[in-house]
Symmetry: C2
């Protein structure tokens, strides 16, 4: 992790100087900068995902925190990953009567979110890769977690299943099952340990109510952004447009579950926002959720770099759905089945057009919609966007 | 309820003498005999189901007992019915990794089980009818049940939903929802109150273990029936062949959840078995569950009347699937969608052939397979079977 402290502009790319003998997860940690988690040109990215996808699994225990089942996986050379299992068929749509806070987490959403965030030029999601694991030999037989191991069983169909212990969906009625042993999972690179790189958790100003009946303040007050704009840390620097970047990402993948975001403490307030925990994205392709765009719609502001990238991805030659489809084929699980079905890919294009429409509507009313974050940075890591 | 006490033969049909001014539910109660719940020729049957399907609903409260949500519905003239709501799309198959004790209850299974039991000539399931009810005006707005009413909410899709309080699937993750108000339900006629007609509950000797790991004794011991045959009440009368009738019914509809059965106490041990609670039937059409037939397979005994009826229903002109399809069209909900999909109907024919195959295999090894229950009863209520 680069401990520089200058307050603006992009950090110099330093991966070329990393010691090649370091394991890829450590090189990833060392490459984290103030403005992004990784540089998209860093060859270590491919090495890191290859490592997660192929290394021998040494240990599997339940990871605490959150409401749904996830495992912490250990690899040789102290590598670790966060595992989320496949819990429903790849293309199942979320039941229309389920609230966003009751929805399942999806392994393919974690994978697709990483790709989408990268293609948008954000680089704010830790690398995620898909893998087929053997539930018996890579979890059941090696786990030291008794609370986990006692939930294993063989299902009526002869599949090896488990459910773990957690708040939602950890019961025999909602098992995670191999076929009979092999299970699709997502593996997300772990961030540096909190003792080395403490993080701060921020409650999103556009957080939903997480209630069946109550509305959040931002849902009732069209002028809500005026208050946010005056409230630290949103009253200076890029924090507000960072939040809007995150809303654009979430709208494209229809993630309603962004209640908090995190930053690295050592970078203070002038730093990028981590887009962690995307398992509830990509739940429904047939509908869009305009309220996710509320920060953009209510604040009428967007980074120029983001706007240019979105415009580029709406052109026929660079269509977001095509670029996502292509990008996802690099994931090992794409050999099992496409990680996003065609209706989900089409939804991305449809939603992208809606984002651009909101920006245009803003521009018709306001002069200060485009926040120019790229003046003087045309050689920076996101320069390709502006070419 | 006919309080006769002779120990064999069919009771004389008495419905013609029932007072026509009695409400249909009361006439149903009065028509219950030692050997069957109703006479299939009784015109009151159609009046009873019409009553349940059309009468104004006066009250709706949760019904205690069991593990899943069900409601007790009140009608004018003191009629009552047990309501089970539609909880999954009509044709969804049970997940292969779910145990029989974790499966949802299905409203259409309750309806189809009543028809199947009647077509088999058993008449041991209280009449069940389907109905489209208005969740808002017929439950939410009239219930006096606070535990129920506080679980109502409007879903993200704008549907009126509730989940009640029970052991399984009573949570916001498993809502019962109208579209936006109308919900398919099954309504089963209530039996006479337990204070008037007390019932005895018997644990089935072929009860499953209700465990993820343990096997029941009958699953381990092929000679299990030898013990049962010597154990009262199975050592005399028709109790053993009654149990085998029930196994045939359950195998045909793939109901693995028959842990208990009931009888009316006043009829002692020489009486029919009530086939209550069939909501977990018809969960899977693509597979059969041979273990449900264990009582037949292990005891190698079957009523002659049942055997003849099964043989009749395997003939092209009387094919079970055709007769069930025809019978189910009489239910009001068949106007919404067929109550059993074609794969479920075909499964009935396939399973019927398997039952007859098991009988034949028995007959190749034993002489006493057919239990002659119809000698001298050719004019009785089930005479059509033997014609």
């Amino acid at each position: 992790m680069q401990s520089n402290s200058h307050e603006e502009g992009y950090d110099k790319v330093t991966w070329t100087t990393d010691v090649e003998t370091h394991p890829p997860w450590l090189r990833f940690h060392l490459g984290i900068s103030r403005w992004e988690l990784y540089n998209r040109k860093d060859p270590n990215l491919a090495q890191l995902t290859h490592y997660l996808a192929t290394q021998h699994i040494l240990g599997s225990v339940q990871k605490k925190g959150g409401t749904q089942l996830k495992l912490l996986i250990s690899f040789p050379n102290y590598g670790q990953a966060l595992l989320k299992p496949m819990k429903q068929t790849r293309h199942a749509e979320t039941d229309v009567n389920l609230f966003y806070f009751s929805d399942f987490e999806r392994h393919n959403a974690e994978i697709a979110a990483f790709h989408l965030d990268r293609l948008l030029g954000f680089n704010r999601i830790p690398p995620v890769v898909g893998r087929l694991i053997n539930v018996t030999t890579e979890i059941k037989e090696i786990t030291t977690d008794r609370r986990l191991s006692k939930t294993f069983f063989t299902s009526p169909a002869g599949n090896v299943c488990f459910y773990g212990q957690c708040e939602y969906y950890c019961s025999v009625e909602h098992p995670v099952c191999g076929q009979p042993h092999m299970l699709e999972v997502s593996l997300a690179t772990m961030l540096p340990d909190l003792t080395i790189a403490p993080r701060r958790s921020w409650r999103s100003p556009w957080r939903r109510s997480y209630s069946r009946t109550k509305l959040a303040q931002w849902e009732k007050d069209p002028a809500y952004c005026d208050t946010v704009k005056q409230t630290p840390p949103y009253n200076q620097g890029t924090r507000l447009v960072d939040l809007i970047d995150m809303a654009v990402l979430d709208f494209l993948m229809s993630n309603m579950d962004r209640h908090h975001y995190e930053t690295f403490e050592q970078f203070g307030n002038n730093t990028f926002l981590l887009h962690l925990d995307n398992g509830r994205a990509f739940g429904r392709h047939s509908q869009d959720e305009p309220s996710i765009l509320a920060p953009l719609q209510q604040c009428c502001r967007i980074r120029r770099s983001t706007f240019l990238r979105l415009r580029l991805l709406s052109l026929p030659d660079f269509r977001l759905s095509d670029i996502m489809r292509e990008s996802l084929t690099q994931d090992p699980l794409s050999r099992v089945a496409p990680l996003l079905s065609e209706p989900h890919l089409s939804a991305l294009d449809r939603r992208l057009a809606k984002v651009l429409q909101v920006v245009q509507t803003c521009q018709e009313k306001h002069d200060d919609v485009i926040y120019n974050d790229i003046e003087g940075h045309d050689q920076g890591p996101r320069s390709a966007v502006t070419a």
